[in-house]
């Protein structure tokens, strides 16, 4: 296998992080995979090998292989030839890792951001309080506890009458 001469600037973890920050979440393109807290670690080895560790959001998420391929491609696009993409389950992904900026973009996109998780009971029949992303009202009803993707639920706002999606608090 032939290796191109690595350019030193492409081999800083910060450069890799910046590249990964450009990868949109395949199901919610308004946020990136780093906004979502899915990238857990970036290391650059002595021989120039870049290892990216990411954690899946939901274990059955159909976008996982797309994310994995996108990470590998984004690093290769920096001129890195030796890339390893690892996945980890520990610690398990939580919506608490979604950064504030991304929460605001989710809201503007019409998706209610997740409430803080806390360590609630396992068997909890009431869903967390959710605010309408359009008018800010808490006078909302959940209309379906599973939405178009594993991470969302469906709501309707009784104040402004708009239906909306809400991020599950995980």
């Amino acid at each position: 296998m032939e290796y191109s001469t690595p350019s030193p600037i492409n081999h800083q973890p910060s450069t890799v992080w910046a590249a990964l920050a450009q990868i949109p979440d395949p199901e919610i393109p308004v946020v990136s995979i780093t906004d979502m807290g899915m990238v857990r670690d970036v290391t650059v080895g002595d021989a120039g090998r870049v290892t990216v560790t990411f954690t899946p959001t939901f274990s059955g998420c159909p976008a996982l292989h797309v994310i994995r391929d996108s990470i590998e491609q984004a690093v290769r696009d920096l001129g890195v030839t030796d890339v390893e993409v690892r996945s980890t389950l520990t610690p398990p992904w939580t919506t608490d890792w979604i950064n504030d900026d991304a929460r605001e973009r989710l809201r503007q996109y019409g998706i209610a951001p997740p409430a803080p998780t806390g360590e609630g009971q396992l068997i909890q029949l009431d869903a967390e309080p959710t605010r309408c992303p359009r008018c800010g009202s808490l006078n909302v009803r959940m209309t379906a506890s599973f939405g178009p993707t594993l991470c969302k639920r469906m709501y309707v706002c009784d104040t402004c009458r708009e239906p909306f999606e809400g991020f599950k608090s995980v």
Binding site: S59, T90, P91, S145, G147
Partner: protein
């Protein structure tokens, strides 16, 4: 305190492989039954909900089978798509035909609560890879329990017809539910080592939880439990046609790499 892969003895490895297969088989078969509602559920939202639930259960099966592979098991796709009914080790509870909506929701409730409680206990496994899987999966299972518990309540306390169907479903499913708590060969040793949860303790918590919900809250009657249970290698005649359908694409295209 956690132990690594190297800490397992050969006997423990074999027992754990079997347990992981048993867990995955239940998830795969139930996911298939849930998937049969796609396009047929009473309302669109439930169509989507069951597809979501099925997707989660398959995700859990994927986690179990990937761990099994690191312990010397086969490729997860081969395990799922190239074993026949004689080799599957799922419970009869999950293989029964999907029935009506009440049947589907009662089964899912019995299963989800058992899975959630088992996973919660398994987060304390001394075997780190299993504890990690449990910590991941239990967060997802929580949503299943919330959803199906509400449906069972809604049906049981709904109309006389929905109550009748819910009770009929419970009566039919009940004899099979205890099989979820049947230990695999060698499970005792794994439990003693703290690798697997104490199945009897999980069973007791499950009985308490479902009694409070089904009997106290929903007014349903639990039938007498059967005194004996056939093993997980004994299936009803419903499993073979299910597998035939589920595996048809894989078997028609054995060399396919991307599905």
């Amino acid at each position: 305190m956690t132990t690594g892969i190297q800490a397992l003895t050969d006997t423990q490895t074999q027992a754990l492989l079997l347990k992981l297969t048993v867990l995955a088989d239940d998830e795969i078969i139930l996911a298939h039954r849930d998937g049969e509602w796609t396009g047929h559920a009473p309302i669109l939202e439930e169509d989507i909900a069951l597809a979501n639930i099925a997707q989660d259960e398959l995700g859990h099966a994927g986690l179990y089978l990937s761990l099994a592979q690191t312990l010397g098991g086969s490729d997860p796709d081969r395990v799922a798509f190239w074993r026949g009914p004689d080799d599957y080790r799922n419970t009869r509870l999950v293989e029964l035909p999907k029935g009506d909506w009440a049947f589907t929701m009662v089964r899912q409730f019995l299963y989800d609560t058992a899975e959630a409680l088992w996973l919660e206990a398994a987060t304390r496994s001394t075997y780190a890879p299993l504890a990690e899987i449990a910590a991941k999966a239990v967060r997802e299972e929580k949503f299943h329990v919330q959803h199906t518990a509400l449906w069972v309540e809604r049906l049981a306390l709904g109309t006389p017809e929905s109550e009748r169907r819910t009770q009929a479903a419970l009566t039919e499913l009940w004899p099979h539910a205890a099989q979820l708590f049947q230990p695999v060969e060698g499970e005792d040793e794994l439990t003693a080592a703290g690798i697997l949860p104490d199945l009897n303790a999980v069973h007791a918590r499950w009985t308490d939880l479902i009694t409070r919900h089904l009997v106290d809250k929903c007014g349903l009657t639990l039938p007498d439990a059967p005194t004996t249970q056939p093993g997980r290698d004994t299936h009803t005649h419903h499993l073979a046609p299910l597998l035939e359908e589920m595996q048809s694409v894989a078997r028609q295209h054995p060399d396919a790499e991307v599905w």
